[in-house]
Symmetry: C2
Subunit: 326 residues, 2 copies
């Protein structure tokens, strides 16, 4: 079993901004072994007062939308303003040896070479919940290490957008330019999570199309009740390739932050996210214990088939399984 530096050493190193010890701590947090889990929790408890200080920003978008290039530009824009930028990822499909398409340093090559920035690929994991937990904990460690802005990217497999949106302060959705029939459309469930829609590749021949999409999305958004008193979702055009629109985009992120801090909605959001996270973990473990029970393992598939086939009422199935369990 891998040995890690002591908790005290990790705490001191992280607070001093030591990248090597930060990376060790992140590996500790990603471990599935019980002794590592325990040490990771002690580490997080010790560092808790040093967390919370970063701007937490989620980014999603379909493969091909230009997320890496965009992040590279935005990250460098912030680095040039002397901000320390970290990029994390939630990708439940990533495998230990296969790696993920997210957090790929070769695709964010300027940021990867920027000394003050830090890019970490997604933890691999069995479940989305497990990957999300590790990423949230990675975020807390990065905050304790002094990072100013932490991006969490995801590609939108299953429920990963929902999970990332619930760990960040600001959630942006990258879109391809286009309108009408060409437009892929916003995935249902994403629209209500978005604080900003970003129409990328707004350059060259695509520019008129991008502007039209921006206008149409903005029209569509105004028919939704906003999630906050102090912020209405915005739609912007950028070119990840050329960097146009990036400074203006960041100004809006700042406006959002200032407004939500003033209205108290930012603190409220983070508190509720923490509470939901606690309950998500409780529920996940309760269900896991249930599923691992020998009688349940034996009966579940048959019960589920009968429910799907319409020959067993769902309540009767639930009753029967819970009887086996208790």
């Amino acid at each position: 079993m891998t040995e890690f530096p002591s908790t005290a050493e990790l705490v001191a190193g992280i607070r001093a901004g030591d990248r090597v010890l930060l990376a060790r701590a992140l590996t500790l947090v990603e471990s599935e072994l019980a002794p590592h889990h325990q040490q990771a929790q002690e580490l997080l408890q010790s560092l808790l007062p040093q967390t919370g200080g970063a701007w937490r920003i989620g980014i999603t978008g379909v493969p091909g939308v230009g997320k890496s290039t965009f992040l590279d530009q935005l990250g460098m824009h912030l680095a040039q303003q002397e901000k320390k930028v970290a990029v994390l990822a939630v990708d439940p499909s990533s495998r230990v040896s296969g790696g993920s398409i997210l957090g790929d340093k070769s695709r964010m090559h300027r940021l990867a070479q920027e000394a003050t920035a830090f890019i970490r690929p997604s933890p691999s994991g069995q479940t989305l919940g497990g990957v999300a937990r590790r990423t949230r904990e990675a975020m807390l460690l990065c905050e304790a290490a002094g990072f100013d802005v932490i991006f969490v990217e995801t590609v939108g497999v299953g429920q990963s957008e929902t999970v990332v949106a619930d760990m960040v302060d600001f959630f942006m959705v990258l879109m391809l330019p286009g309108a009408g029939d060409e437009l892929q459309g916003i995935k249902r469930g994403i629209l209500e999570l978005a604080d900003m829609l970003v129409v990328n590749k707004a350059d060259g021949d695509f520019l008129p199309r991008a502007k039209r999409a921006q206008r149409d999305y903005a029209n569509a958004l105004q028919y939704l009740q906003p999630s906050y008193r102090a912020w209405k979702p915005q739609v912007v055009c950028v070119s990840g390739l050329h960097g146009t629109g990036i400074p203006e985009l960041w100004k809006l992120v700042v406006e959002h932050r200032v407004a939500l801090e003033a209205s108290g909605e930012l603190q409220s959001l983070r508190q509720q996210q923490n509470l939901r996270w606690m309950w998500a973990q409780i529920k996940e473990r309760l269900v896991e214990t249930f599923r691992c029970h020998p009688a349940i393992k034996e009966q579940l598939a048959e019960m589920e088939s009968a429910v799907l086939a319409g020959t067993l009422p769902p309540t009767a199935a639930a009753d029967a399984l819970l009887d086996f369990f208790h």
Copy 2:
């Protein structure tokens, strides 16, 4: 303890369309007592082959949008086509003695007097999950009793729209006429559930406004990825008061049904709904058992406060509580 007719008597009565016995069966299903619960489950198992035959339609909208008047018109339109219509409701705020504003016969007075129709107020209940279960079971009993169309209405308290949408084939959202600043906007999370937006009160002075809202909502909707291959959400104008637009609305409901039956998506939807319902009940009972554990009852409030205050990491709180539980 109230006595009910035997299961055999209830089965025979329901299959024969006996309204008195149907009402007794619905009361049985609503009971919180264990022996009643057991008889209710036996009844449902016996009647299971007779269920599934109705069109299940969910309706939501803010108080004041005109839901009752609209349902009265739509219900009578169907009754005149010799369809047997039932109206059920999900209203977690209803109290045993206070009654609910939904399923109120005085507000659907023509339908309340129509011999072939049947209106039942929401079950009262402690939790949304409990109310939803009873309504789903009421729906199955109504189907076994031969009803052709079953409406389930809700007013949108908490998660009730999500819960109703997951028990019906078609979910319609009633909206007030209006546009721009006057427009209340669609509640986030509802938009992705809607198979149809219905702009009500499209009559008299409101008509131009309603038409504008219809056009704007339709524009907005085209930017969302549809949930089905075979159906794109529609926006219609109606006047619940005068009945205009109702026949056209129903034609679209029929189109939806035909299309989704042909594509297999209706069967798939109902199967997945049943499976989700089974798991929702399992999870609800697991969490309830957890919450009722003496050690948890003692520790929970303090743990939640610490998580909200930011002094205890959510994972540590979850770990600690689960340790107390096991």
